[in-house]
């Protein structure tokens, strides 16, 4: 098992892509901190499922946009597991609206939850990872962060920002053997995309060479690879997982 004995913190792991990432890292041997915002019951279920396959796991509620909550969560993780080897920044929200109609609060909420959070968690974990002289940080961006998307100015700006932040953190932390990469999913079946009307989905299929939506596991496999020793020469990259929708 490639991640045996490692500790991974996955933000937004109560459902969707984050849940699948948490489970996949656990299947590969890692102990998991399941972070979430409000869905305690779902998060505890994920932690239970991880324990049932023989790994250690705790669910920690923390708003990733709040620096104190993030620092507290990282402290708790290190106290509990002794190490912190893998950080996956997956938590994210949407507040879609055309630019002309977008409220300032929609902009702020999405930028804080989706982008500022990555800065806060990276800062908080890098102390521990620098000490360990080893670490893996994996940030979940999005296809729209490179292609743009009408109705998602806030979300796209945050997801594009993640790519720039990933490259900079990769350069700053490389001397300490910490790699930082981004994964940019295309359209993946989760609560986020279930909201799309059926006709929009049909239109989408036409733009996807592989003619289907992706599944959370399509993302989780790539994250597990980036979290492993096998990816040690990859840093600052954005890996696209989108069925060929954007090349």
């Amino acid at each position: 098992m490639t991640l045996a004995g490692k500790t991974a913190l996955v933000t937004g792991a109560s459902r969707g892509i984050g849940k699948e990432i948490a489970l996949e890292l656990a299947r590969n041997g890692a102990n998991i901190v399941v972070n979430y915002a409000g869905n305690t019951q779902l998060a505890e279920q994920v932690a239970d499922e991880i324990r049932s396959i023989g790994r250690e796991s705790i669910a920690i509620q923390a708003d990733v946009a709040n620096s104190e909550a993030v620092e507290q969560m990282v402290k708790e993780t290190v106290n509990m597991f002794g190490t912190l080897d893998i950080l996956v920044n997956n938590a994210g929200i949407t507040r879609d609206q055309l630019l002309m109609r977008m409220k300032e609060s929609d902009w702020d909420d999405v930028l804080n939850t989706n982008l500022k959070s990555v800065f806060l968690t990276t800062k908080a974990v890098s102390r521990q990872m620098m000490k360990q002289r080893k670490g893996r940080i994996i940030n979940i961006s999005s296809i729209v962060g490179v292609s743009g998307n009408a109705g998602q100015a806030n979300y796209v700006a945050a997801k594009a920002g993640i790519i720039g932040l990933t490259k900079t953190a990769a350069k700053e932390l490389a001397p300490r053997n910490i790699t930082v990469n981004a994964v940019a999913p295309g359209f993946i079946t989760t609560d986020m995309t279930d909201k799309l009307p059926e006709d929009v989905k049909q239109e989408l299929y036409k733009q996807i060479p592989l003619a289907r939506l992706g599944e959370p596991k399509d993302i989780a496999y790539v994250v597990a690879f980036l979290a492993s020793e096998k990816s040690s020469y990859i840093t600052g990259q954005t890996i696209h997982v989108n069925g060929g929708m954007y090349m």
Binding site: R127, M130, K131, P175, R176
Partner: protein, 77 residues
């Protein structure tokens, strides 16, 4: 007083692999002791652990020489 200097010196010698004789109060971390920015951040982290202190980001930016670190720590103890 000298105790702080001794403990700081030991950490610097361990972390930067420099000769103890080079670690004088006037020595600058970057020019004289060959530390890069990350080394300085790490040294501050180790000093925090050693002395049970928190250096604020603004304060740690002002620490240029070994003496700066020692007097900062002494002022906080």
């Amino acid at each position: 007083m000298s105790n702080v200097l001794e403990r700081v010196t030991k950490i610097i010698v361990d972390r930067l692999g420099v000769d103890e004789s080079k670690v004088t109060p006037e020595a600058t971390f970057k020019e004289d002791l060959g530390a890069d920015s990350l080394d300085v951040v790490e040294l501050v982290m180790e000093l925090e652990d050693e002395f049970g202190l928190q250096f604020s980001d603004e304060d740690s930016e002002k620490i240029v020489t070994v003496g700066d670190a020692v007097s900062y720590i002494e002022s906080k103890l």
